[in-house]
Amino acid sequence: MDTVLIVKAIIVVAIFAISMLMALYETYAERVIAAFIQDRVGPDRAGPFGILQPLADGGKLFFKEDFIPAKADKWLFILGPAVAMSTALLSSAVIPFGDTIIVAGQKIDVQGMDVNIGILWIFGIVSLGVYGILIGGWASNNKYSLYGAIRAASQTISYELAMGISLLAIILMTGSLSVKSIVLGQHGIDWNIFYQPMGFLLFLTCSLAECNRTPFDLPESENELVAGYHTEYGSMKMGLYLFSEYVNMFISSAVLASLYLGGFNYPGMDFVYNKLVGSFGEVTGHNLATAIGTLTLFLKIFFFIFLFMWIRWTLPRFRYDQLMNVAWKWMMPVAIVNLIITAAAELSGKPLLYNWVGLAIFGAIYFGLFPIFKKKTVSAN
């Protein structure tokens, strides 16, 4: 039992360290990808190819003046970034970063904890995350910060609906709230994205909104609100806000990869598993197969992080009314339709076929019949 505890502790610390490290290097990746998309070279002064840039940035933030405005609510002002950071880190606890490893004859999950309400935990923590922004924006005693905070809150509430409903379709398919069993249900290449293409798009869009990333970065829209909720923040307090955003992005990518791209599953995994067990023995082979699975998951996470950044440096920000229109008038109805289609397809016994049939029917109705009822408007010019 002791070894299990020790190994578990190592795994938990490793997950914590990895999320921090990922967030650190996401800042670097963000700058390099931004530079490449804009035909520039990007940061390259600190270390070879600038790989020490995140450390330099962090060091800079630590040495800046830790300023609290006179009219700010001091304790809430300090609490804000702390809440944002801790909630961001908490949600990685239930994500399965690999299958199991065998240590001292016992199977241990490569996961913080495998609770049976895992995905609910993530959602709870993510909705808590907006408190960090809200508290920080309110405590700053500045109208722009408050605007940013209120925008963040309303945006998170609006997009959580569509996110939750598109997630319901996944839960309907798997019959479990545990992230581990959702991932295990997508063995090999039997990934949920093939059953839920529309759900995937909805979930991706919503996670962009939940991370406050670019098409939805209204909370910190710099040309309207100075810097939004962190206008009054400086030094490492602002660093924590920025950092929590990047940790959130990592977690969102991990959740997306786990729910839709099969987590640590990859095509041909049974063949690889048998080969490894055959040549390295039961224990080492199993652990090696798990390591390959973890690597696959990280490749998927990197893909999503790249996608997030790619989107950020492509798409302009939504107007506020567009943001609300998209959430309430488009994504939520579409998510409900998707849920109905999934339910029907699950009942039919051939979910893969009937999901696509359902989507095709929906598309035909929407694109074929809807324009007939749409009233013709004459434009001004």
């Binding site: 804009q38 035909d39 520039r40 790619w310 440096w313 492509t314 798409l315 694109f367």
Partner: protein, 183 residues
Amino acid sequence: MTLTNRSRKTDNSELSIVENTYFPGIFKGMGVTIKHFFSKKATIRYPEQKRYLGPVFRGHHILKRDDQGRERCTTCGLCAVACPAEAISMVAAERVKGEEKLYREEKYAASYEINMLRCIFCGLCEEACPKEAIYLRHDKFVPVFTSRDQVIYGKDQLVEDMGDRYLRDAWTKEDMAKLWIKQ
């Protein structure tokens, strides 16, 4: 009159039902950015990589020697007169017997100083020189200085080193055009 050939008429028509899903626009935009992601970069890693500035770039000054290693400057002072920034000062001296290997003519510069804080790198000294002695190098900058006593460049920093002679890449317009094509 059109100012560029890339201007397009603004499309104010209403979005079609497919366009209204935003997807065609999003995919088009993502395509544009990924194309730029892999395209050649417009910037370079400057101090390590340097661009060729052309054969007529006016950089660090150099006092040329002739083929036998004798200094060409005769301290006529035309460069100092031509200099709009009054950056050049010099002291003349007469060549004595036995110095024929060092100086080409009877008069030479005992000291020749350029104040780099004043110099505007206009190249008029180069044009004024009747002895083809002073040039502005095309391949070397005057380095950054941090204190005033590094500013005045004497003969030790200006006279050409015979082991590392300075040659200009191109003297005529045609040569220059060829060089630019090669770049």
